[in-house]
């Protein structure tokens, strides 16, 4: 990457972050709610991107983990416990369940793995709905309180948006660290060529389980924010279709790209809102847009950019070679 290019990237990053911090001050409550939702869904999609995009393990259960996190938050905070305690419980719970769910991945791969996680997703929904003593069943849990951060209440939309954005920031940093660490490299190795990875001393078994567990735990983190965001949860939003939506976000954004989930969640959360002016047609147009995008670039939005960059680099390289060649020929 050239210096200029890196410079532009940094500028772009700063502008986006500044916009995310400043612009919402001028948004109404609806806009803040949608942006908060985007931040929460991005966290969940980042988890799935880790499992699927980096480590190559298909999971159709991410929505169930968001549900587990949301119920942990709703139940605990309704009983007077702080959200941070719920967060810890959600992370541990989702990590453990994700770890266990990873075991089938050691036996079966690809679509069969997807089917197992799909079954888990349905089972989780049934538990949310049927175990009323814990989850209040189909009635759901209402009046979920929003937390106080260092004694500062976040009941208003703007402060809670900053809670979501801050969490997104922390999760992004942690994920960035993770994928740049040797673990991230091992995840990629797992995705690209597990047999070779094994022969290089990479304990693919342990990394597979870790990829599942960490990805699931991020789903739980998103859930603990989702509950106080809507302040009411019932089982229906956490059925299979949320898992499919999250999968769509990861693929549409660009699986295996760090910024993929940000864009994917933007498409899934914001695009339908933008299309609402078409009234009854908005979901249809949304579906057409997603299909069109995937036909144009099956590797997602970042796939387009990636393709463009590679093309440009190849062109630059061949130009360089041509120059070198002609200068060689020119020398007598």
């Amino acid at each position: 990457m050239s210096l200029v290019q890196r410079y532009w990237r940094i500028v772009l990053g700063i502008v986006v972050i500044a916009a995310l911090i400043v612009a919402p001050m001028y948004l109404n409550r609806y806009g803040l709610f949608i942006l908060s939702q985007w931040a929460v869904m991005t966290i969940a999609a980042m988890g799935l991107n880790l499992t699927l995009g980096y480590a190559g393990q298909v999971s159709l259960a991410q929505g169930a983990f968001v549900g587990i996190g949301a119920y942990a938050a709703a139940i605990m905070t309704s009983n007077g416990m702080p959200l941070i305690a719920a967060l810890v419980v959600a992370i541990i719970l989702c990590f453990a369940i994700g770890w266990i769910l990873g075991y089938p991945a050691l036996r079966v791969q690809h679509h069969y793995l997807a089917f197992v996680t799909l079954a888990f997703s349905t089972l989780a929904f049934l538990v949310f709905r049927n175990e009323s003593w814990l989850t209040n069943g189909i009635y759901g849990i209402s009046n979920i309180p929003r937390p106080s951060i260092f004694g500062y209440p976040t009941n208003r939309p703007l402060p809670f948006y900053y809670v979501c954005l801050g969490s997104l920031g922390l999760v992004s940093l942690a994920t960035w660290w993770l994928i740049r660490s040797p673990w991230g490299r091992a995840f990629v190795a797992l995705r690209e060529n597990p047999v070779r990875a094994l022969s290089l001393g990479i304990d693919t078994r342990r990394y597979t389980l870790m990829a599942f567990a960490i990805g699931s735990a991020l789903g739980g983190v998103a859930g603990t924010l989702y509950a106080p965001l809507t302040q009411y949860i019932d089982p229906v939003p956490f059925n299979l279709s949320l898992s499919l939506d999250l999968l769509m976000m990861v693929i549409v954004g660009g699986a295996g790209f760090f910024f993929g989930p940000f864009l994917g969640a933007m498409i899934a959360v914001l695009l339908p809102e933008w299309l609402r002016f078409t009234q009854g047609y908005y979901l249809m147009l949304y579906a057409v847009a997603v299909i069109g995008l995937l036909i144009y670039s099956p590797t997602g939005i970042l796939g387009i950019i990636d393709r463009y960059l590679i093309e440009r680099r190849t062109r630059a390289a061949s130009a360089l070679r041509a120059v070198a060649k002609s200068s060689l020929e020119a020398t007598p």
Binding site: R29, I34, R129, G140, Q231, Y232, D234, R276, Q279
Partner: protein, 370 residues
């Protein structure tokens, strides 16, 4: 950014249209409910505007889709409230009402909704209004009917496992307790379920004196067929969703003998309702269910209340609707006399109905309480 919505200027200038906002289940699991509700609203507004509007001002409504998801409902209600509507309409799912009611109350805007769960109007919210009986008022009537008329001592309950079915089941189970009626079987079913053989065989095994069926119309039709196939002959009791015309249409002979209480039905022997049904079918090419009626009534509630106040005043609206009685004689659009209490609950005539030879027969009219 596209997210920013334009905040309306002076909202209620004389002559400007009165803005209403509807948030309903236009896609997802509740799409049939929400679409009926929306069509009812549109029909009523069209009628009123054709006759010059309310206090000389036209009505104007925006429709937003909640995707049958409480989280989306919350966002859309927030958006609607940011636009400062005169009154908020919807949603229909009780869960979505629960998540949005505090927002409307905080904004001081009245919310006229379709939810039927008992608890909705019992939380002390002063801005929430029903368009139909809540389960806390319809279920006692069904239980009384089962006790007094059917004289059943044990009843099997079949309910659809969503907030509607679960809510009805919980209230009626309590009511049965008061009469000392035993619940012989308690069967949860899934929305969209096709095969009721297992449920019916469980009913048969429990040998109850009557069966209370609380499902959506399509599933009601399927279980009626299965009950007939397995030769269950005890009385089948239900609510609007068991003995509506739609169920009769879908279940054929199997619906004969089904009976129960109907709060709001397009089949009621009331001329105004028959006329409504005709208008609706003509405009939309299908026969509405009670949700179509509810949407229609919501608009006429707004009209009657506003005309009573003599002004378009969003803040005073809720106060004026509490305790209001609207007579069909003076406001035909309300179809039947109706009174709203301090909780936003509704009081109206009800009917006891039985299906005989594929036709609804009104056995008894339950009078309005006051």
């Amino acid at each position: 950014m596209l997210l920013a919505t334009v905040v309306a200027g002076p909202a209620f200038a004389q002559g400007a249209p009165i803005k209403l906002a509807n948030v309903a289940e236009l896609s997802g699991g509740g799409a049939t409910v929400g679409t009926n509700w929306k069509n009812g609203i549109d029909l009523a507004i069209e009628e009123i505007n054709a006759k010059g509007g309310v206090l000389g001002r036209k009505l104007e409504v925006t429709h937003a889709d909640s995707q049958s998801n409480p989280g989306v409902a919350r966002a859309q209600v927030q958006k609607a409230l940011d636009g400062e509507p005169y009154v908020l309409l919807g949603p229909g799912y009780s869960g979505s009402v629960k998540v949005t009611a505090p927002l409307a109350a905080e904004a001081g805007i009245a919310q006229i909704m379709g939810g039927e769960a008992a608890e909705l109007t019992q939380a002390g919210n002063k801005f929430l209004f029903r368009t139909s009986f809540g389960q806390q008022s319809s279920m006692p009537k069904v239980a009384k009917y089962i006790n007094d008329e059917v004289k059943a001592k044990s009843v099997a309950i079949v309910w659809v496992n969503n907030d509607f079915g679960r809510g009805g089941r919980d209230v009626i189970t309590r009511e049965f307790g008061k009469y000392g009626i035993k619940v012989a079987a308690d069967l949860s079913t899934e929305a969209g379920q096709a095969d009721f053989a297992a449920d019916v065989s469980k009913i048969k095994a429990a040998a109850p004196d009557a069966v209370f069926v609380y499902l959506n119309e399509e599933e009601s039709a399927r279980i009626l067929k299965e009950l007939k196939r397995q030769a269950v002959t005890v009385p089948l009791v239900g609510e609007t969703t068991l003995i509506g015309q739609k169920v009769v249409e879908l279940a054929g002979d199997a619906a004969n003998g089904a009976r129960g209480h109907v709060g709001l039905t397009t089949d009621a022997p009331v001329d105004l309702i028959k006329a409504f049904r005709e208008k609706f079918s003509k405009k939309y090419n299908y026969v509405p269910d009670h949700n179509g009626l509810k949407g229609y009534l919501a608009i006429y509630m707004i009209k009657a209340t506003t005309e009573k106040m003599g002004k378009v005043d969003s803040k005073a609206f809720a106060d004026n609707l509490h305790g209001l009685t609207i007579k069909a004689a003076s406001e035909p659009g309300i179809l039947m006399d109706v009174t709203f209490d301090a909780n936003g609950d509704i009081d109206r005539q009800g009917f006891l109905v039985e299906i005989v030879d594929g036709k609804q027969v009104i056995k008894k009219v339950l009078p309005k309480l006051n």
